[in-house]
């Protein structure tokens, strides 16, 4: 059963992301409201896809991304970076750091679901 | 023939049969434990607890300008919802649940007092029985100080109907 980690400091936003991905078959969700919590979730349960917000308290989403790319165990987990309009400059860095896809909020729910499905299937 | 028959609850006050839409009725109870509220309007018998809510119990006889009658085994409290409000109506008896076909309902006749058009949604005659369909929202929205001489209005309605049935020669 694929496990999707949704990391965002806004609980409403996490609910919106989960609602958008609910249609995927058999998925299970893990939630994290900060960068450190996101990494803890990764350490405790197998995760197959990360939907990652950038602007989080404690450590920044890009740090979480770099962290996962540097370590063997997490390197293969695909990451969708989901961030708010205005952070576009971080797109290049996110993509070069190894994010699979970069999406700006407001996002289209079916598009997010489509990307997530593709990434889960190819992974 | 049976296009959407609207369900009604029938009740009696002073030998006249009234109906209210059953969807407006939350429940029907025997009358017990009414706590009088000092300085409330005269037709408010007091408060009752209904599903944890404190609601007024309105004596419809008093409200309609009729004489009060002691409660007996047939007296009922009909809890109705009207907009945001929930109120209890005390009536002589209430037992029937009746579906009235829409074609049996006619607008209230014009009467001298204009009372019937204001407080009745319509009238129905079923098996020679006259049923007055009460507009609960209208009855509840009148100022407590305004007197409601419904008895006279009903007499007017009955007269108007009789006149229709037996046109003067």
């Amino acid at each position: 059963m694929p496990n999707i980690l949704v990391a965002d400091d806004s609980p409403t936003m996490r609910r919106m992301v989960i609602a958008s991905l609910q249609s995927l078959p058999n998925v299970h969700f893990e939630e994290a409201s900060s960068g450190l919590e996101a990494i803890e979730r990764l350490a405790l349960a197998p995760v197959h896809l990360i939907v990652l917000d950038l602007n989080m308290p404690d450590i920044h989403g890009l740090e979480v991304l770099h962290f996962t790319r540097r370590h063997e165990v997490f390197r293969s987990i695909p990451v969708i970076v989901l961030t708010t309009k205005g952070d576009e400059a971080s797109r290049a860095e996110a993509l070069s750091a190894g994010a699979a896809i970069y999406i700006t909020k407001p996002f289209e729910p079916h598009l997010l679901a489509q990307y997530a499905r593709d990434l889960l299937e190819t992974a | 023939m049976t296009e959407r028959q609207a369900p009604f609850i029938l009740f009696q006050i002073a030998d006249t049969t009234y109906a209210v839409h059953s969807e407006a009725v939350q429940q029907m109870e025997m009358v017990e434990h009414i706590t009088p509220v000092p300085n409330a309007p005269p037709f408010v018998e007091g408060v009752v607890l209904s599903r944890g809510q404190v609601i007024p119990a309105i004596n419809l006889r008093t409200r309609f300008g009729l004489e009060k009658k002691p409660y007996d085994l047939r007296t009922r409290l009909i809890v109705v919802r009207s907009g945001e409000r929930t109120v209890g109506l005390i009536v002589d008896s209430a037992r029937e649940f009746l579906a009235i076909p829409p074609e049996a309902i006619q607008p209230p006749p014009d009467t001298a007092s204009g009372m019937s058009e204001r407080y009745l949604e319509g009238i129905a005659i079923l098996d020679k029985r006259l049923i007055l369909i009460l507009n609960v929202d209208a009855v509840l929205s009148i100022a407590p100080s305004e007197e409601l001489h419904l008895a006279e209005a009903i007499a007017e309605v009955k007269d108007a109907l009789l006149a229709e049935e037996n046109p003067p020669a």
Binding site: E40, D58, H60 | V54
Partner: protein, 656 residues
Amino acid sequence: MTPASTNVFTEFLDDYFAECDEHLTAMRRNLLTLESLAQQERVDVSLLDELFRSLHTIKGLSGMVGLAEAEQLAHLMESILRALRRHQLDLSDEAVDALILGTRTLEQVIATRQTRQPLPDIAPAIKQLEAITGPLPDLPPSPEETPTAATETRLPLPRESGPPAFTLREGERAWLFQFTPARALAERGISVDSIRTRLQEIGQIVHAAPRIQDGGKVTFEFLVTTDADDSTFTPWQEDGLTWAPYEPPPPTPAATGLKAVPTPSIGPPNVVRVDLTRVDDLMQTIGDLVISRARLEDTLTSLARHVPAAQQRQLQEINQALERQLRSLREGVMRLRMVPLGEIFERMKFVVRDLARERRQEINLALSGQETEIDKLVVERMLDPLLHLVRNAVSHGLEPAEERLAQGKPAEGTIALRAATAGDSVIIEIEDDGRGIDRERVAEQARAQGLLDAEAPLDDPTLLDILCTTGFSTRRQADRASGRGVGLDVVKKTVEELGGSLALDTEVGRGTRFTIRLPLTLAIVDALIVSVGGQRFAVPLPSVREVIEARPKDVTVLGNEDEMLSYHGDVLPLIRLAARFGLQEQFERAFYVLVAAHGAKAAGIVVDRILGQREIVVRAISDPLIQVPGIAGATELGDGRPLLIINPAVLIGSRR
């Protein structure tokens, strides 16, 4: 704007409003702090970070629910904060004003969306915000200024870098903690989040970072400065924590620049948001439990003579334990509903600030007791009345500066807003040091309108009654004369509906004080059960000062038929509940007098009998047909019979 009907995220609107509300509250607080720092060289970076994050979240969420106006406002304000953060912009009065106007407009946009009213005009706010962002270079937003640990601008993003420099205060030490998460720990509720909270409680987290150990295990490193000694954390070994003293590297010149910048606290507070209706459901269940326990007690009492003494004692003990436990359960749930009054006090700052500008007057708003907690429902209902009283105090109470100086007062007027808990009540005071209410002119008006007998003196409670008379207060002439009044009737009504009371003290030339006394919680109170004319009533115990047994011969009847009882060397006017309520008194030799007060006005309420003392569940009376002055609600003691709850303050206040 995306039409709401086509937006798939409309089902999250309630969450959206709730989350925005939290951020807006935090923003108001932070903006006012920011305002006090305007024109200073160094601004607390954490403050800017927090504002930035609030706006960022509001912007993102507003986009999701299709509220483009809010998104646009938040975006512009975010740009200003980013520029401030990068020192591309000075913290000028204009910038702060633009941010405050922006916040207020943002608030209105969200509030009108919530109530489905037409959106306000956002153009003025946009214009003022753009006037600030205008001269900025088009900012290529880059991640480094995003609020992470105390990184100044242009530093590369900290990878698994070492901790930043920090300073130690007297008696503090630095410790490096390592936490290794594990499922077994998570099952016990121990997570990086709870560890972070734990560490924040003992000191300050200077740095936090994830690490990977040789075996591929993830650990978290926290650098903490604290004055706690290591015996505090010895028991934490079992929770996956290890620690060692940390020696800071010698400060480098670059690092010293950071010293003055306070480190942002790390991580969100440990807060769960609960829908208020769920708390209400719980409260309802507890209310039912209280009633069931009362019935149990009644049954035990009636069984008493059939049960052997030893067993009876046991039963009583169990019953008492149950009562205690219910009480603590109830208090616990009630605490969930409590919010600090500080939140609405913060709003008053905005109001006073605006009025001060409008009137070009210096006003000092002195707040105290912001931490006082009260039921959330009460806070919501009290917002408008408090706004009203504060506005009145500024616009009618405070004299213009010249007038003040001429009277030997400081030019700056003071409005004090205080809150405190006193027993089962919360007391809120709104006081100004202005001109006070001209009693003589109010009396004149009141007599002219037949509201006051020619001879009657005008004491403070009577004055308040007159000011709160709807007909009186809306008369413009009276207004000008007294300088008070508009809408006071509404204030009084709201306070009384909440089971509280309003009092007034005023002195010409010295100022005016309104005192609001509200019940701490609404749901359950201890009450005296009394009977009058064969009918039972409940009187909340907090409103009763004393109960006196009296006989008819103790009562002195005055010429105007007012009855008095001598009381502690003074006289106490009596209010016969039976007479007020159209009932027949049914006492034998003696009756009972409940001494209660409304402001400075005390009176004795006469009842036939005291039946006992019980914990009652207060149920509101909402139907207009049964809203009667002096009755605060209804309750039930387990027998299905409703009992009316008396509000003595209203009875006393309306005494003629």
